[in-house]
């Protein structure tokens, strides 16, 4: 019972994870790692954050399966499109 009370609820946990992912993205923006890899990571993290907001804040995770499936497929499709367009673009000179 005490352990259950100490555990954060799923919404608070989702918020903490979203903040952490935000900081990771923010820190990566000007690091020395290859820009292309970081760009793909930043887009990937953003779409994963969209998923968390949808499932945990909007409660899409508790909706009828078709809605959830549509949302998940949509995220995969949009992620693939954005990452592909970005990956195929030329790199900016440093």
């Amino acid at each position: 019972m005490i352990i259950q009370r100490l555990r954060p609820n799923r919404v608070s946990l989702a918020w903490a994870i979203l903040l952490m992912l935000t900081l990771i993205s923010w820190e990566s923006a000007d690091s020395a790692s290859p820009a292309r890899l970081e760009g793909l990571m930043v887009i990937g993290i953003a779409m994963f954050k969209v998923r968390i907001i949808g499932l945990q804040f909007m409660d899409i995770g508790l909706t009828p399966r078709r809605l959830r499936l549509g949302f998940e497929i949509g995220i995969v499709v949009v992620s693939a499109i954005l990452m592909s367009v970005y990956a195929l673009s030329p790199m900016a000179p440093r």
Binding site: F57, M58, R65, G70, V78, L82
Partner: protein, 200 residues
């Protein structure tokens, strides 16, 4: 069996425990908006591919601190709204109004931050017509800001609704709908932040 809110109330995964929060119409609106913005995002990246040097130079000039602040504000406001809705569903009135007020304050803080950010750029001579990146920047963030204004109005409305002693099931559905719209505002910003401030 699951206890999604970690509150001791377990639920099964069965279809009988799945429900559509809010009104069906809000989901049509939300998914339509997501599709439109997805097209915006892809269009932005496609134009970026044709003019990488200008886009990257402009992105590098962006004050990422504003972007981070705005993201934290909207994520926090969404968290407060989600917690408030959870309490409304359980017919717990304690804390609902302060949480929704907190979310509204975060929304206002976002608007003020945007005013400062736009002001700084305009004073530096950076406007909608400076280059293609900034055309996208002002357009997309402007449309998003319109969503924020509408969302703040919606939050005020649902805060008033939630303040009533007993919330009917229709009232709960309306509150859920309002919350879903606000989460959309947050969700759209998350991608805008990545594309306009971070992706290089």
């Amino acid at each position: 069996m699951i206890d999604p809110d970690n509150d001791g109330n377990v639920r099964s995964h069965s279809a009988s425990h799945r429900h559509l929060p809010g009104e069906p119409g809000i989901w049509v609106m939300v998914f339509s908006d997501m599709i439109v913005f997805s097209i915006f995002f892809a269009t932005f990246l496609a134009h970026r591919a044709e003019n990488v040097e200008i886009f990257e130079r402009s992105r590098a000039e962006m004050e990422r601190g504003y972007g981070l602040l705005n993201t934290v504000l909207l994520l926090t406001s969404s968290w407060l709204v989600a917690e408030a809705v959870s309490r409304v569903r359980k017919e717990i009135s304690t804390g609902v109004r302060p949480m929704l007020m907190g979310a509204i304050m975060c929304g206002f803080a976002f608007v003020i931050s945007k005013v400062f950010e736009y002001g700084g750029k305009i004073r530096a001579g950076i406007t909608l017509n400076t280059n293609e990146f900034y055309t996208f920047y002002y357009m997309f963030t402007g449309i998003h800001l319109l969503h924020v204004f509408i969302g703040i109005g919606v939050l005020v409305f649902i805060m008033v609704l939630a303040s009533k002693e007993r919330c009917s099931s229709a009232g709960v559905s309306t509150i859920e709908s309002g919350a879903i719209f606000w989460h959309l505002v947050d969700l759209l910003w998350v991608v805008l932040f990545a594309l306009l401030y971070l992706v290089r």
